[in-house]
């Protein structure tokens, strides 16, 4: 019996996930999410639009292009600051653990795009 070495598992790092993108059409309306397209999520965090509905294609392409140009993802942290009315931030470099999760959170926070 051949047990694959962990290196072989690590080769699986090049798996590309496919996910759907929902956009919150109105922040004030519950259940306003609409499916606007699907994207590929590459292991290094690069995103690629697979398809999108015509009305939001320009928007989605633009956002994805911006995301791909970011060397790091900055997140405004809701963790407490030291003084009142202080906001804090964290940054995750491309290639670091947690980059993709941060990227998806960023998409949600700044663009209202939920990726599932």
């Amino acid at each position: 019996m051949t047990v694959p070495h962990m290196d072989e598992i690590d080769e699986l790092g090049d798996i590309v996930e496919v996910a759907h993108v929902y956009e919150a059409m109105d922040d004030d309306v519950e259940d306003s999410d609409e499916l606007i397209g699907s994207i590929e999520i590459h292991p290094d965090g690069r995103l690629a639009v697979l398809d999108a509905n015509a009305a939001r294609k320009g928007f989605l392409l633009d956002v994805i292009e911006r995301m791909n140009s970011k060397p790091a993802i900055c997140l405004i942290s809701e963790d407490p600051g030291e003084a009142p009315f202080t906001t804090r931030s964290t940054s995750i470099e491309r290639g670091e653990d947690g980059f993709i999760e941060a990227e998806l959170e960023y998409l949600q926070r700044h663009y209202g795009l939920a990726v599932f």
Binding site: P4, I15, D33, G58, P80, R88
Partner: protein, 646 residues
Amino acid sequence: MTLESVKPDVPRSSSYAGEASSSRSVDVEQVSALPRGQPVRTDAPGPSRVRRFLAKLPFARGLQGRDVRTEADAATRARESTHAQEMEKLEPLLKTIRLIEKTRPGRGGAIESLVNFDRARDQCRFKAAMNDEELHEARSGLRQAADQVIRDFAGLQGKSAADTRSVYKALYKMYFGACERALRAPVNTIAQLRQRRALEKPAKDDSNITDILRAIDFLRDVTTSFVQKDNSERKLVRKLEANFRFLTDIKDWAVKQPGVWSSAPDGDKQEAALIGEFMNDPQDEADSGPRGAQFSAAPTITWESALTALDMELFLQKLEAQPNQIDEAVNQVETRLEKAGQIASHHNERLQAAIANIEHRPADEHADLALNLIEATPPLFLERLGAEDFSRLLRLLRTDSPLSDPAQQPGKSGRAGPAGGYDSYEKAEWTLYRATRLAPEFVAQESAVKRDLLDKLGPHREKLRLARDNWPTLSDQDKLDVVRMVSAAHHAAMNCPPPKEIILADLQKGITGDYSNRRNVIRINRKAVIFNDFESVMGTVLHEGSHNRQYRLAEHVRGKAIPENLRPQAELFELNTRRYVDSKKDEDTYKKQPMEAHSFRAGAKLSRAVMRFLSHDEAEPGPRPALAAAGIGRPTPRPRARGELT
């Protein structure tokens, strides 16, 4: 060379068409004479036959020595390319199978499925004779065969997991990260709801492979099905979830109440009775007793009883048995939610009456009575209080209480009142803070702020887009100019005086920015990691600007000059400014206290609106104006005096 230079070689006379039609070799020779590597204008004037021939050529380059493709060839090639793209999507799955083949060569039930998988893979080899439907079927077959291999492999789990851990890890790597996201995905069908609930309950076996398989199924389903909003099943699922959340919240509260909950054998009945008590209006209860108790004794499951018993599984079972009754189920859930709303309103009325009663009591009793009331009320019902009632309750809690006595602060000698010392009052205050919701009138005004902000930014849209696209390369001063422009529009939209200053500062690295009410200054930290991130800087300046507005509203409360529709929220802000919860004390309360809850919400919401506003129609082609033409970016940044910006 363009076609212009080829024109002399192509006769234009109409008689040529006839000649050309008689000899194909003329066409080929003519076209072959085109220089390599040059584009060909297929709309060139000339004989129609030649134009048609040219139109068939994708490129003129490399024509010699190549077959001239027919339209059928091109279509086949396009189908082959599409098929290859679709196969690419299956690649992660196929990799897993290859790993399984290595790990468990020909073990037990997996042998047959692996053979079938090989056959299915052969079927997926592209053949020109296959039409699109056949190709699609072949791919579906491969996916199913791969699934079967994984299932058979999973069937071998459980005894010795060590040698299969790698495959498990591979599966996990592929699917589970995505699964966590999928668990948050909005489900649309009863089947998906069941799948998700199954996923939420971890499997009992050690390998967790069952979870992964469930996750795979769920992910595929939830991400490939699209259900219209007006679909009755989708509506049912959403309402069911809302109902379930409502009941769960009550249960969560009840569990924490001493004496209300019991782990005795008949705890389930108590649960049902308790929920029934909350979910039934007094008249129903008088007629037939608590519905929960009724359910416990009921021989059959009814929609009402399943909902009342807080048992989604029962409800889904009922629905599964009678799949045609979705509309009826929707009605039942709607009725239940409506009733729940009525009951909540009823409780609210009682709560408001209790607040009024306390207000009529002697002042020295206010704090203790308010404390008792807060502790005895489920947060779910506190959340439904209006901003005005929150303020009344907060004031009562602070009247002549340790909260308003500096000597009673932590570290000082606390008063041991009937309900406990300082901590009890503070805890009740935090409970109130966490339960507060923005006043509806204020929320409506916030939507107007969003629209006004975008209107005011409209003339600067191109400038902002350029700033966004070039943000990391802009000088500090240019960034500050943009921040000030956005903040000015934000404050104008809020109808709020802007802060005295917006400056760049050298704060601690982790701090993004802050707002000082005392100095009325917003500071953006240029040493922060986010300073080079346009979206984050915009989010920060909008968040901090919201704090400025809260303070101005609070000042208006003290000065009695404020629009009546904003007064309830303003009063709540004013009360919050007096006792702002330090972030170090309690993180959850910090985020949910009125001022921070509003700023986080407003900052994120407005920032999203601005980003979408800037991105809209971004795909339009065309050159962008130079930065300098839009007034952004100076060739040589102006030297800045030390400390000038701070």
